[in-house]
């Protein structure tokens, strides 16, 4: 998994001696730098965006760095990579959740102990199925059908949606989480 230290990107790409992600121009500069690094990923690779060294983040920066990055990643011309977010604190979430909700986006936050959480605009069904796949480590559609009460066709649609939103990925015929599972 490729690790991108967003704090380091902020200090070098935006040339600022601060640890806070504020203002749109700063956010845009940081996002462009991250996008350049993501272009080096191979098909199916996962990048971990590490916010551990970021102090606070305002709404404008959350929109520029997080939302626009996810939108670009979901675009047709996007490189086929995945992103997990690490080092996210409640202070970051305040802004991130607002912009994710605004755009109807979602992302995966990975914790230091290996645990993960889905953040953003997802339905209860999407969250439940994502958590089911995460708990198993990987699952084929049939496996999830066996342990859930969902209609198989609806289940397939939800799994495909989670895949297209890059909240899960494919490993052969199975759906798997983006990050390591302990």
């Amino acid at each position: 998994m490729t690790r991108i230290d967003v704090g380091s990107v902020l200090r070098h790409s935006a040339n600022l001696p601060f640890s806070d992600l504020v203002t749109r121009p700063t956010g845009a500069a940081v996002r462009r730098c991250i996008q350049t690094e993501l272009e080096a990923l191979s098909e199916g690779d996962v990048a971990m965006l590490d916010f551990s060294r970021i102090g606070m983040m305002d709404y404008s920066c959350a929109d520029e760095v997080v939302a626009k990055l996810l939108i670009a990643l979901a675009g047709q011309d996007a490189h086929a990579g995945y992103i997990v977010f690490h080092g996210i604190t409640d202070a970051h979430l305040e802004a991130i959740e607002v912009v994710l909700d605004h755009h109807g986006l979602a992302l995966v936050v990975q914790f230091a102990d290996g645990g993960a959480r889905l953040v953003g605009s997802v339905t209860d069904q999407e969250r439940a199925i994502w958590e089911m796949v995460y708990a198993r480590g990987s699952a084929a559609a049939g496996d999830v059908t066996d342990i859930s009460a969902h209609d198989p066709i609806e289940l397939a649609r939800i799994l495909e949606s989670l895949l297209q939103r890059r909240l899960l990925r494919h490993d052969g015929v199975e759906y798997t989480p983006l990050g390591p599972v302990q």
Partner: protein, 297 residues
């Protein structure tokens, strides 16, 4: 003939209107004297709005500082004269301000013209604001990050939309006008730029209705999140401010042109919308976050 504009004894967002009303009949190139000799109190809004007023005058206005030594000393500590001396012909002696950072003001009057200024403001205020919000306002720790975000977004309004520099100031004090002297933290961000109406017009974001004026433009931007930029991610800054202010039972007001709208908490009896005010260019924002008071069982 030089007009004398009297500054009220207590200068805040509402009493500042009397200054604008007196100025209304005097064009920008007319000679005026801003007489603050009898002022004894000024909020961050009052001080930053006075500097903004100076920016609107083609003919440099004279300024008579407060006579009360405590008042003039406070205005100096707040950094007001550091910029007033550039913008006004300040008459008489005013105290020399101490170096920035030694003041008892949470954030002295600070110019905001570019994105880097916002970084500086946020960096400077976080530690001191956290202490005030936790210890004096008794808010939860998550309020401190939201406060910095709110301040950042308010300042960015200048950088993104005003077209010229403005001012920010933050102070904590006992709010005597309401709340029975409860502690509040007040953010004031004022500029003399293009204002909300012109900003939206420049982005072809005028509402598709017959009525189009400062009040409608303010409502579109502040309440409905319309931005002059077509980017769908825009408009979230003011929305975020509204959310933060609502969560902590604060007050948020925005004045632009001839109108002012405000989100009014239960403890305040202000009106949500004022129209046909004396014209004042740019945008003037004020955010008040009050002390949290436990409800007795």
């Amino acid at each position: 003939m030089t007009a004398v504009i009297a500054v009220p004894a207590s200068l805040d967002d509402l009493t500042f209107e009397s200054v604008l009303e007196q100025l209304a009949s005097h064009p920008a190139d007319a000679k005026v004297i801003i007489d603050a000799r009898h002022s004894t109190f000024a909020t961050p809004y009052g001080l930053t709005a006075l500097l903004t007023l100076a920016q609107t005058r083609d003919e440099k206005a004279e300024f008579l500082p407060p006579e009360n030594p405590d008042t003039v000393s406070y205005w100096a500590r707040a950094g007001f004269f550091r910029y007033a001396e550039e913008l006004f012909d300040v008459r008489g002696h005013v105290p020399r301000p101490r170096s920035a950072g030694e003041s008892d003001v949470l954030l002295e009057v600070t110019p905001v013209t570019k994105s880097d200024d916002v970084h500086g403001v946020v960096e400077r205020i976080q530690e001191r604001a956290a202490s005030i919000l936790l210890n004096n306002l008794h808010l939860e720790s998550r309020a401190t990050m939201g406060f910095a975000m709110t301040l950042s977004e308010a300042c960015q309004n200048i950088v993104e939309h005003a077209g010229r520099g403005g001012w920010v100031m933050v102070q904590a004090y006992n709010y005597r006008r309401r709340l029975g002297g409860r502690y509040v933290v007040v953010i004031a961000v004022c500029d003399a730029g293009v204002g909300f109406r012109s900003s939206l017009e420049s982005g072809q974001r005028r509402a598709l209705s017959d009525r189009w004026d400062d009040a409608v433009a303010l409502e579109a931007a502040v309440v409905n999140g319309v931005s002059r930029y077509g980017d769908p991610g825009r408009g979230q800054g003011l929305k975020g401010i509204r959310g933060y202010v609502h969560r902590w039972e604060g007050k948020f007001s925005v004045r632009s042109g001839t109108a002012r709208i405000a989100l009014i908490p239960s403890w305040e009896d202000d009106v949500p919308r004022r129209e046909n005010l004396a014209y004042f260019p740019g945008a003037q924002l004020q955010i008040i976050i009050p002390e949290k008071v436990s409800v007795a069982a």
